[in-house]
């Protein structure tokens, strides 16, 4: 796919809305990432940590947000990917992922990114610098 270089400032990438968060999503991510902190998978552990229920790994949401840029990885790469975690993601939450182009700097595109839940509350936000300049080091 191509076209990132055609984007105008203020333009957004196509939003991705994830399916409601299911326990199995988090179990799979725990296995694939190696993060077995039980507050992400086991109710009793989440409750004993003072949570109303299990919560998604922050890195699950951050890993999902990277999907906005996956269609463009033939053109460049995510040089900088910086996220601040703002809120918890619970089972059944519907998370939407967004990126808006803020600035072009040579071969680098600077995006503001965020993930929001069904109440439009931010669960994370941050920045992506997508670089189309790849050194021929390989």
């Amino acid at each position: 796919m191509s076209g990132l270089d055609q984007m105008e400032i203020g333009e957004a990438l196509p939003t991705i809305q994830l399916a409601p968060v299911a326990r199995l999503d988090l179990i799979k991510y725990a296995g694939a990432s190696g993060d077995f902190n039980p507050i992400h998978t086991i109710d009793a552990d989440a409750e004993s940590a003072g949570l109303p229920g299990i919560i998604a790994h922050g890195m699950w949401t951050m890993g999902n947000l990277a999907k906005l840029f996956t269609p463009y990885l033939g053109e460049g790469f995510m040089r900088d990917y910086a996220i601040r975690f703002k809120g918890m993601v619970f089972l059944g939450d519907v998370v939407s992922l967004r990126a808006v182009l803020k600035e072009k700097e040579g071969e680098t595109l600077h995006f503001d990114v965020e993930a929001v839940n069904q109440d439009d509350k931010k669960v994370l936000s941050g920045k992506v610098a997508f670089s189309m300049e790849i050194e021929e080091v390989f």
């Binding site: 994830l18 999503d25 799979k28 991510y29 296995g31 694939a32 990432s33 190696g34 993060d35 902190n37 940590a49 922050g58 890195m59 699950w60 951050m62 890993g63 999902n64 990277a66 999907k67 996956t70 269609p71 990885l73 033939g74 790469f77 995510m78 040089r79 900088d80 990917y81 910086a82 996220i83 601040r84 975690f85 790849i134 050194e135 080091v137 390989f138």
Partner: protein, 149 residues
């Protein structure tokens, strides 16, 4: 007291980016692209091989930092920042280590919280930096006391 861990590092650990691990990781996130998993598509790409997604370093072993013992409870992941010099390649070796960049405390509504900043580095076999990752972990008062005990 916890300030004493600033500057402490782990030893380098060799990781190999396994094809199966990348497949499992992108499948768990529903992050599909032939560039991650299809060998032919990888060969045809500008990299000439398959690549790993940007948060894949969470799977790497970065060793343990002497003197740093984080409790199981009372930690909040505050921030996560990656910087790459190029994408990671499936099959390559990445040599990883961690360093405590900073530690400070702030008093707020929930007591005196600790802020731990740990940087995670990955180099290729020739010592070229591939990525750095900065993680900010917020430690609540109870967990902080436990660490000081």
């Amino acid at each position: 007291m916890l300030e004493e861990i600033i500057g402490k590092k782990s030893g380098k650990v060799k990781n190999r980016i396994e094809r199966g691990a990348v497949k499992k990781f992108v499948e768990a996130l529903g992050n599909s692209s032939p560039l991650f998993t299809d060998e032919e598509a990888g060969k045809r790409s500008r990299y000439g091989r398959n690549i790993a997604p940007p948060t894949f370093p969470v799977t790497f072993d970065g060793g343990s930092i002497p003197g740093l013992h984080l409790p199981d409870k009372g930690l909040i992941h505050g921030e996560q920042n990656y910087h790459y010099t190029r994408p990671l390649f499936v099959g390559e070796e990445v040599h990883c280590w961690r360093e405590v960049k900073d530690y400070y405390e702030k008093t707020g509504n929930f007591g005196r919280m600790g802020f731990l900043i740990v940087t995670f580095y990955g180099e290729d076999a020739s010592g070229q930096l591939l990525f750095s990752e900065e993680r900010i972990v917020i430690i609540n008062e109870a967990a902080r006391r436990e660490m000081e005990a």
